[in-house]
Symmetry: C2
Subunit: 363 residues, 2 copies
């Protein structure tokens, strides 16, 4: 039953992605050993981000992207930056049920972690942004998040001489380098560096001691119970879309009826309540859980998943064991030097505190 | 007229502080030269923070203080940290007219910079906190800022094992090291490290080439016009209290009649509209200006000061010259590695989004 439904929800693109994840082990694995034979549905985190489509990474671009990521002046209020909701001090999330944005408005969905997000098949819970560059443009404009606009952002960046210099250096072949697209490309380049290698990766690469016995037992359960049917690939999730409630829909507190997920993107009724499976990397430090963000305890979340996706009531011991394994997915967090941002000028659009538009936008 | 009024507003403590600033030059000056003879009302920024009263600094305490400074979970919403309003990417301020806090409420005063604040005579615009440790407790509890409470903060910290370990290591002689006071002491220790040496300091230490000719001309004007009557000492301000409007009260937009400043602290009518002179270090990057935060242009602020404090209409050229000098007070900003914060537990009080108390508190 489960397998059939899961297979149905995997589109052509998803299959390609999964095959890529399950193909020949990357060079890093070969170098240090082989993954356990039953774990080929996973892939160790590479040491470096993958090439970004149409966006070659350079150190200067990454540095510019870091500045933009932390710059609250990209928001209408000058108070909210990318880092506000995707806080690199807190596992790349805000630890809020759903994010708080401009005017203290709440967005409709829980903020997914930015860490390792470059390896997701697409961005947002409904996958409506094909990559991190496209994603970055969303919250900037969403009236319940940063509440700015492309024009305002570009006017802001062009008013700050150091930003103009940096964009010019980073995009040297462009006559007009300070654009909303280039801002997004720089942010994408920085975000792509935010990788968190974990002990699970060492284990996948053949270091049998990298996981403790109880973690290995939890991993065995994770695979044998079927969790890895959706949570697989390099991000232990993030690689495809699945109905929330493959077997049994959770309650309306966890699955609010008004948010139909991917159906709003594909306009297909068969995608009602379909969401991208989240990565489970760093899941132990990034509550609360689900797109609705209403479940704070990871064991509770595992219980919900067992019922909704697998049609089985996991025992308390099984849940504890799986949670023990999941903790091994908490990786080494990125080291980031906090940027010193360039000074604005009289031409920079001033902060606007007021809320003057109708809510829109979501993670 | 000006001198008389200024002298009147200097209390005994202030005199001691000023004398300390104008006393024998520190060792750093002697090592590299002597300050120009007419500049003895200033003092170069020391290389290290001064000893903190009752709060010996250690690297572990500074590191703990940095974590607390950046931890939004000290706020009721989990969204606001010290760094939100005193952003180290932005000169230690939020660049807002007045700060935005819990529930998107606005505080009544502009956020002063945390940079070099350890050298201020006292903290807040009205000096009601004697030091940075006392200051740190204010915004944490103010309902329009972080909206927490000592009990909630201590409960939060005690629920996070790594914080308990760190407090225990930093305050080893205490039976109950995780306290609101110790939190404040750790934050004070970190903040005391946030010093921004500038070219003006090199000049004071005898490097005649550290300032350009137009900056020296501006400095001469700054002294000869009387600006240095209040803006002196190591922080070029911050060392004492003065009426805003020594000669002529500015308009009610700049000096709102409802905020009587230090009078609320001393309960003396003679302190009506008396405020601590702000430091001018980094003034070029920390608009908007005055406790009311309504003036964005530094030249405009200098004009207001000329009229209100000196009773003179500075010419546009004079204002430009003074602003040119003030830019030399923008110092090298602190390098800070963004902290990775320890994970909360099930015992940690969850974020509260709602606004449920009457506004209180101000910078």
């Amino acid at each position: 039953m489960k397998r059939t439904l899961v297979a149905r929800s995997i589109g052509a693109l998803g299959l390609v992605a999964m095959l890529a994840c399950q193909g020949a082990p990357p060079a890093e694995q070969a170098a240090t050993g082989s993954p356990p034979a039953n774990l080929t549905m996973f892939a160790a985190l590479p040491d470096a981000p993958p090439p970004l489509a149409g966006n070659p990474m350079t150190p200067a671009k990454v540095e510019l992207g870091k500045m933009l990521y932390f710059d609250p002046r990209l928001s209408r209020s000058w108070l909210i930056s990318c880092n506000t909701c995707h806080n690199l001090a807190l596992g790349g999330v805000d630890l809020e049920q759903t994010s708080i944005g401009h005017g203290w408005q709440r967005g409709p969905r829980n903020a997914p972690t930015v860490l390792n997000a470059v390896f997701n098949i697409a961005q947002f819970w409904d996958g409506r942004a094909k990559d991190l560059a496209e994603q970055a443009k969303g919250p900037l404009q969403a009236s319940v998040e940063m509440s700015s606009s492309p024009d305002r952002v570009v006017e802001t960046l062009k008013s700050i001489p150091e930003y103009v210099e940096r964009f010019t250096a980073v995009f040297p072949d462009e006559a007009d380098p300070v654009t909303f697209d280039n801002m997004a490309h720089a942010i994408e380049a920085f975000e792509a560096t935010l990788l968190t290698p974990s002990r699970f990766d060492s284990y996948l690469r053949g270091d049998a001691q990298a996981l403790a016995a109880d973690e290995k037992a939890g991993l065995d359960l994770f695979v044998s119970k079927g969790c890895a049917g959706c949570h697989n690939g390099v991000n232990v999730g993030g690689s495809n879309y699945y109905p929330f409630g493959v077997v049994q829909k959770p309650g309306s507190d966890i699955l609010p009826p008004g948010d139909k997920g991917r159906a709003a993107v594909t306009h297909s009724a068969s995608d009602d309540y379909v969401f991208r499976a989240p990565t489970l990397r760093n899941v132990g430090i990034t509550p609360p859980y689900f797109h609705s963000g209403v479940v704070w305890d990871l064991s509770d979340a595992v219980e919900v998943m067992g019922n909704a996706q697998l049609g089985m009531a996991l025992t308390p011991d099984e849940r504890t064991s799986i949670v023990t394994f999941l903790a091994s997915l908490t990786g080494t967090q990125p080291k980031v030097e906090y940027p010193v941002l360039p000074t604005h000028t009289a031409a920079t659009p001033r902060p606007v505190w007021q809320v003057d538009t109708a809510p829109s936008g979501q993670h």
